[in-house]
């Protein structure tokens, strides 16, 4: 039961976007961004993650149950890492 294939254009655009973000991350790591360097690097990583999840893993085409599993897992990761980080900062 193969689904409709991903369009070649979408895959190409996703690959170009991933490499553009990769290059941006790498270039920015040489700039003195101070305390902004960490949120910027992680923000770009999140953008790349979204591209991989949508264009390559095609999460939006998965059945609802599969999307719910991924959404819950992402939420748990954010809660776990976020709470630990907030706790460490406020101690």
């Amino acid at each position: 039961m193969a689904d409709a294939p991903a369009s070649r254009t979408v895959l190409l655009l996703a690959t170009v976007a991933l490499f553009a973000l990769f290059g941006t991350s790498w270039w920015l790591s040489y700039l003195p961004l101070g305390r902004w360097s960490i949120p910027i690097a992680l923000g770009i990583a999140v953008a790349k993650g979204v591209i991989i999840l949508t264009a390559f893993m095609r999460l939006h085409r998965q059945p609802v149950a599969n999307r719910v599993v991924v959404a819950v897992a992402v939420a748990l990761v954010v809660i776990l890492v976020g709470l630990v980080a907030v706790d460490a900062v406020r101690r």
Binding site: M1, A2, T15, S37, I44, A45, G49, F56, N66, V70
Partner: protein, 217 residues
Amino acid sequence: MSLIAEERRRVHAARLGVIIFLASEGLLFAGLFALYAAYRVRFPAAFAAGVRLDLRWLGSLNTGILLASSACMAGAVSVLARAALSPRPGAGPGVAPRSHAAQGLMAVTVALGLTFLVLKGCEYADHIRTGIIPGGHSAWFLAHPDPGLKIFVALYFLMTALHAVHMMVGIVWVGVLIPGARADARSADRIELGALYWHFVDLLWVFLWPLFYLMRI
């Protein structure tokens, strides 16, 4: 239940199983990311110094390699799905022909994965030669007694080695699938499951790369 409905249920169950497995793997790494966040807050200078120890060019090269491998794997799945939906005119019933395009893309994926591991091994060897090893029992750590550095190095080896183990599993998984890459729906579905795993391993590295190679301040 019709054969088509039965097949659809089977495919759905297989995808759900793989996604639940990947979610559990993600939660395993989440614990390590949380540990990294906590110690990064506690030892900011040591962690920034630790990141500067890693070879940025090598880590970045590996990131490019993994992104390219993911693109190849996505391409292989797309080629197979396309072939499954529009079989060649004149193709009769029976075993579908092998898809050489998909097999080639998957072989490139495996080759890129192996290159990633070789480069990672070179980086580990460089660290070990210098004395940067987990546990901190070396002359290098006597000269650099910051406890934050020991923790950074331990986390670096733990998280990147765990990722490398996942890479090895992915390489074997994709490698085993290559001979069976045929232009039919069943093959496309099977290979899509391997591709999901491969993209997940790529996704992990997308977050490991800035943590261990870019965040130098």
